[in-house]
Point group: D4
Chain length 214, copies 8
C-alpha cells in the first residue's frame, strides 16, 4: 500500500505512530486505523471530519469521535503518569486545545483544561496559579497576538509549550502573528510548535511528564 506503518517508531520513541487524516480519504484513514487497532496499541487519528469518523467506525466500531478536537481514538495507554495543563486564550482556540488534551490523555497523562484566560483580563489567569504550579508541563494555545505563553511562562518553573492558533483576522495572517510573538517570548521556558499543532505540543508534553514520573 501507499502507507508504510513505522512499527519501529514506538520501539524507538515509546509512543505509537499517529494518523494525520487531513491528507487522506476517509477510506484510507479507516483502513490504516483498523490495521493499527488490530495490533493492540492505542490509536489516534487527528484532523478527522465526521465523514472520516463514519468510515473508521464501520471498520472499527469501538472507535470514539471527539468532535471539538476533530480526533478519533481507540484504546488507551497502559498507565497514566504525570499531569499537564492545557490553556486556551479564547473560545475559538478550543479545537486546538482539545486536540492537545485528547492526544495527551490517550498517551497516558492527566490533563487539566483552563479556558478563556486571554491576557486582556489577566486576573482570570492569576486565579489558576496553583493548578499551573502543579503541572509537569503547560500547553498554551492562543491566536491573535499570542501573548499568553509569555505571561504563563513568567509564573511557573516548568516548560511551556506554545501553540499559535490561526484564530484572528487581518494582520493575524492566519496565525503568523501569534507564531512570531511566541518565538520572541521574553520568558525563556517557552518553546513553540507549528500553527494549530495541538498534537505536537501534546506529544512533547507527554514525554516531559512521563520522564518526570519514571
Amino acid at each position: 500500500g501507499y502507507a508504510k506503518i513505522d512499527h519501529h517508531r514506538s520501539l524507538r520513541t515509546g509512543l505509537p505512530e499517529v494518523i494525520y487524516a487531513a491528507g487522506k480519504t476517509p477510506a484510507q484513514t479507516a483502513e490504516i486505523f483498523s490495521r493499527m487497532a488490530a495490533t493492540g496499541v492505542a490509536v489516534l487519528a487527528t484532523r478527522a471530519t465526521s465523514e472520516t469518523f463514519e468510515a473508521v467506525h464501520t471498520l472499527t466500531p469501538e472507535a470514539t469521535y471527539h468532535p471539538i478536537a476533530r480526533a478519533i481514538t481507540h484504546g488507551s495507554a497502559l498507565t497514566t503518569q504525570g499531569k499537564i495543563a492545557v490553556l486556551s486564550a479564547g473560545t475559538s482556540d478550543l479545537p486546538v486545545a482539545e486536540e492537545a488534551a485528547v492526544t495527551a490523555e490517550l498517551f497516558g497523562v492527566r490533563v487539566t483544561r483552563i479556558t478563556d484566560v486571554g491576557v486582556a483580563g489577566v486576573h482570570r489567569l492569576l486565579a489558576h496559579r496553583d493548578t499551573l504550579s502543579n503541572a509537569d508541563a503547560i500547553i498554551v494555545c492562543a491566536g491573535m497576538e499570542g501573548a499568553l505563553p509569555s505571561v504563563v511562562g513568567g509564573l511557573v518553573g516548568v516548560p511551556v509549550i506554545a501553540v499559535p492558533t490561526s484564530v484572528g483576522y487581518g494582520a493575524s495572517f492566519a496565525g503568523a502573528a501569534a507564531l512570531l510573538g511566541m518565538l520572541n517570548s521574553c520568558s525563556p521556558n517557552v518553546t513553540v510548535v507549528n500553527i494549530d499543532n495541538g498534537f505536537g505540543a501534546a506529544y512533547t508534553a507527554t514525554l516531559i511528564a512521563h520522564a518526570a514520573h519514571r
Copy 2:
C-alpha cells in the same frame, strides 16, 4: 531652500511642526531649528545624533540635548494640561520611551515613566495599577513579542497607544513581530504606531490629554 516650514500646521493642528533629523545633515537640521526657534514656538528635533546637536547648539545655544531620547528641544509649551504614563517593557526599549516622554513634556503634558515591566514578570506591572488608572492616555513601548499593551489595555479604561520597538533578534524581524502582535491585540482600546515611533505616540497622547482637560 529645500524645506518649506508648514506654519499653517500649528494653526490647523494646535501643535508645532517637528524636525525629523534622520534624513538631514547636521547643518540642515541646525539651520531649520534656528529658523523655527526665532519664531518663538517650542522646537523639537528627533533622531538627532550628538554631532547634530553640536551643529544646532552653535546656532541656538539655549537648545537642550536628551541623549537617551536622541532629541533636541528648545523652549516649552505655554501651559501643561493632563498627564500620561509611558511604559517600557525592557531596558533596550528606553530610547523609544524617552523619545515619547520628551515629546509629550515639550508639548505640555505631565509624564510618568514606568520602566522594565515586561510581561514575563506580570506582578511588576500590577504594582503600578494606580498610576495607570490616573493617566489620560498610556504609551506602551515593547519589542520582541510586543505583548505588554494587551495586558495594560485590559487594566484601564483609557486609550493605550502601542509602540513596537526594533528590540530583539532573529524572528523579531526588526520589530515586525511586535508590530503584528500589537495590531492583533485582544484589548480593544489599543491603537498602534510605526516601529520605534515614540514621537507619533506622544503626539496623539498629547491631543487626548489636552482635550480631556480643556
Copy 3:
C-alpha cells in the same frame, strides 16, 4: 460554559464587553447575547451573519440587526457625549465604516458619516473641512493604498484613527498595503488598528470623545 463573561471589564474600563461572533456558532452567540442582555447593559455582537441574527432574535426579540455593519445591538448607552466623524474612501469600505459607526453610537457618541471621499478627488474631502474640525476624533476607513488618513490628519488637530480595509486586489494583499501605508503616515496624529477592525477604532474614539466632554 466555554465563555467567561468578563464583568470586571466594564468596571475597569467603563465600556461593556462585546461579542465577537465570527468564531462562534449562532447558538453560542445567541446564548451569550441573551445572558448579557439580561444584565441590563447595552449589548453588541460584531461580525454577525443574518443566520446568527435569527438565533439571537429568537432569544432576545428586541435585538436589532445592522446588515451593512454585520452587527447586532440591544439597548443603548445611558448618555451620549461627544461626536466623531467616520470617513470611508470608497463604497466597498462601507461595512467597516458602519461597524465603527454602529459601535460608537451604541457606546454613546454622536457620529457623522462621510462617504466616498477617496484621495483621487481631494476636493470632495476638502468640502467637509468644517465637520472634520468639529469632531473629537476621526475614524478613517480605506483600502487599496490607504492614503486618506494622512490627508485628513494634515487638516485637523484631533486624533485620527486609521482602519485599513481588505478592499482591493493583487498587491493590496488583503489590506496589508493599506495597513503599511497608514503605519508610515507622515501625519503624526494618526494611529492604526487591525485590518477591517472598525470595532476597535470606535472603542478608542469613544474613550477620547467621552473624556473630552467629561
Copy 4:
C-alpha cells in the same frame, strides 16, 4: 572586456545606453564612460560616488558631477522637446528626484522641480496646480506611505510615474510600503517603477514628452 556596450539600443530606442555605476569599480565606470563619450553621444552614469567621479574626470575632463543626484553627465541632447514636473514629498526624497531630473534634462526635456509637498499639508500641493496641468508627464517621488502620486493623479490628465523611495523606517521596510501604496493607487493614470529608480521614471517620462511634441 566584461561590458558589451549595446550600440543597437540607441538605434532601436532613440535614447543612448546609460552606465549603472553601483556594481562597478571606479576604474570600470571611467573606462566605459570615456569609450561612450568618444562616440559623441550624451553620456550618463547613475549611482556614482564622488570617488567614481574622480576616476571618470581623469579620463573625461569635461564630465560634470551632480552630487545630490549622484550622477555624472557629459554632453547634451541635440534638441529639447516637451516638459515634465518632478515632485518630491520630503527633503529626504531629493536624491531620487534629482536623479530623475538630471536624467530627463540630459535626454532633452525641460524639467520643473517641486519639492516638499507631502500629503500631510495638501494645500502646498494645490498651490502648484497650474504647473502640473501644463506638464506632459509628472514624476512623483515619495517614501513612507507613498500617498502623493494618488493625490497628484487625481488633479491632472497626464501620466503620473510614481517612484517609491527607501525613505522611512520601521514598517516602511526600505520602500516596500511606499511601493505597495503606489501599486494600489486609486488614480488610474499612475504607473510605478522600482524603489529609488529615478532614472527609469525619467526614461519613460522622456519618451512620453518627446512623443507629445513630435
Copy 5:
C-alpha cells in the same frame, strides 16, 4: 446615495470615471451605470460577472458585455487617436489583456492584440517586431516569471506598461513573482501597474497615445 460620481474628473483628466463592479452588488452597478449612461458619456464597468451584466442590461438595454474581459461598455469615444499593442504571454493571461484592450478601445485608441508570445519561444515575439515598432505604447500582460516586458522593452523606443497577472501556481504567489520581476526590469522604458490591472494600463496607454497625436 453611497456613490458620488466624480463629474469633475472627466473635466480634470479628459477621460470619464469608470465603475469597478467587484465590490458592488449587481443592483448598485446597474444603477450607477444607467445614471452615467444618461449623461451621454461612454461608460465602462470592469470586473463584471454575467449576473451583473443582466442587471445592467435591464436598465441600459444598449450596454454590451465582453465576457473574456469581464467588462460592460456603452457608447464610444468621440474620436479615435493613436494606436497601441496589447501583448499576452499565455492563454491564461487573456482576461487581463482583454480588459486592457476593451478599455483602450472604448477610450478611443486603436488596439492590436498579440497573444501567446511568451519568452520560452522568443522567435514568436520577434515575428511581431514591425507591429511593436509602430505602436505609441505597448501593454504587456504576463504571469509566472513576468519576463516578457523586459524583452519587449529592449526591442522598442516607446513606453512599455507591464501588467503582472495572477496566472501561475506555487511560488508565483498569485502574481507577486511576476510583479517583482517587472519592477526589476533591466529595460528602462518599463513601468508597472497592479497585478491583473489591465484597466489601469490601458488608461495610461490611452493618455500617451492621445498626446502623441494631438
Copy 6:
C-alpha cells in the same frame, strides 16, 4: 536604576535571571553582573563581547569568558542533575551550540557536544545513536535548511529542542528558512525556539533534565 532584577523569578522558576548583554553598554552589564554575583547565585551574561567581558572582569575578577559562546559566567549550580546532548550541523553553528552548552552546564546539567553532523552525511549522525538515546533532552542547532532536528527526532524518544541558526546566505533569509523547516518538522517530538537562541533552548532542556532526575 534602569534595570529591576527580578528576584522573584528564581523563586517562581527555580533558575536565576540571566543578563542579555546585547542591548546594554559594557558598564551596564558589569554593574548588574556584580550586583547579582554579590547575592551568591550563579550568574550568566549572554551575547557578551570581549570588551564587555573586560568591564565585567574589572568588577568581578572571578568571572569567566567563553569566547565561542560569547558568554560570561560566574559560580556554578549547587548540584548537577541529568544530561543533555547539544548537536550542531556545521562548523558555523558552533557559537549557538556553545551558548546552549555553557548555559546548561552553569544551570547544573551534564552536556555532551556532537559537532558537524549535518544531514548531507547522515552516517555521521547515526554513529552517535547511543549517546542520543541516553540523553534526557537533545538540543539541535542548524542553519541553512534546518533538517537535522527531524532526523534526530525520528531516532529518539525524548524532547528535541530545535534552534535555527542564522548561518547561510541568500534564501536562508538569516535563519528564517531553517526556522520554517523546524516548525514544520514531521517528527512530533520537536519544539522550536527563536533563531540563534541557544540560551532559551538550554533553559527548557535544563528544566526537563532536572525534572527527570528529581
Copy 7:
C-alpha cells in the same frame, strides 16, 4: 485560435510541448489535445480534472487518464533510455510524485517509485540505497520541512531534483517552507523547481537520463 502550438520547440529541445490544463476550459484542452495527437507525437496534459478528461476522451478516445497524477496521456516515446527514481516523503505527496513519474515515462525513461520514506524514519530510506545508486537522476517530492532531498543528495553521486509540495499547514505556507529548505540544501547536487511542479522535475530528469545513455 488563442493558442499557438510551438512546433519548433520539439525540434529545438527534443521533447514535445505539453498542455497545462489548469488555466483552460475542458473544451480548450480537448481541442488542443486532439490537434497535437493528430500530428503523431506523444501528448501530455497536466493538471487535468476528470471533467477535462471527459472532454478530451470524446475527441481523442485512445487518451488515458492518470487520476492520482491528474494527467492525460496519449501515445508513447519512440524509445526508452535511462532510469530515474521518484521519491515521495509522505502519502500526501503522491499526486506530485505521480505527475513526475507519468511525465518521465511518457517521455521515454524507466521510473522506480519509492514512497513514504520521510526523514523522521531515516532507516526506511537507507533500505533503498541500491536503487538510488543505480538511477541516472533522482526526483524527490516532499512538503512540510522539505528535508528529504538533502539526505538523499548525501547518499548518491547523481543530480537530485527537489520538488517542494504544498503539503502541510500553518507555517508551511503552502509549500514555501519546503521550497526554502530545498534551496538551502547542504547537499550540492540538489537543484529545485517550483512548488508542486512534478512535470518540470521530470522534464529535466529526462534530459539528464537520455544524455547519459546516448
Copy 8:
C-alpha cells in the same frame, strides 16, 4: 577538531568535498585546506577573501587564488569530460558566474563563458546560439528580474541551471525577485539553486556533463 572531513563523500558521490570559507577564520580554512591537499585530491575553497588566501598560501604554497570568483584551488581533476556554458546577464553577475566556472573546471569540465547577454538586448544572446546548442548543460546567472534562464531554456534541449544573483536594488530584495522569477520559469528545462550559489550550479552541471560522456 571542529571539522570532520567527509572522506566517504567522494566515494559516494564521485566529487571531493569543498570548503565553504565564509563561516570560518582564515586559519581554520588554511588548516582544513592543507589537510585535504595532503590527501592528493583537487581542493576548492569558495567565498574566500584575499586575507584567507594568504593564510592558505602560507600552508599550501601551490594554491591558486581566483579573485573575481573569490575561490582558492589546488590540483586538478584527473580527466576532463564534457562541456558546459556559463552565462551572465550583466557585469555585476560576474563573481557568481566565475565561482561556477572555476568550480566546474576544477572538477574536470570544459567551460565556455558568455557575458553581458541580458534580455534587454536579446540579439546579443541569439548570436551565441551555436555555443549553447553544443553544451551538455548551461548555467545562467542573473539578478534583477532573472528572466534570462527562461529565454535560454527555450532555445536549447539541455538542462539549464539558473542561479539568481543578489544584484539589483529596491524590490530586487537581494535576489529574491530573481529567484522567484526563475522558479516560475515557463521553460520546463530550468532548475534553480540558491541565490549567488554558483558553486552548487557547477556541481550539478558537472555531474550531468560527466554522465553524458561516460
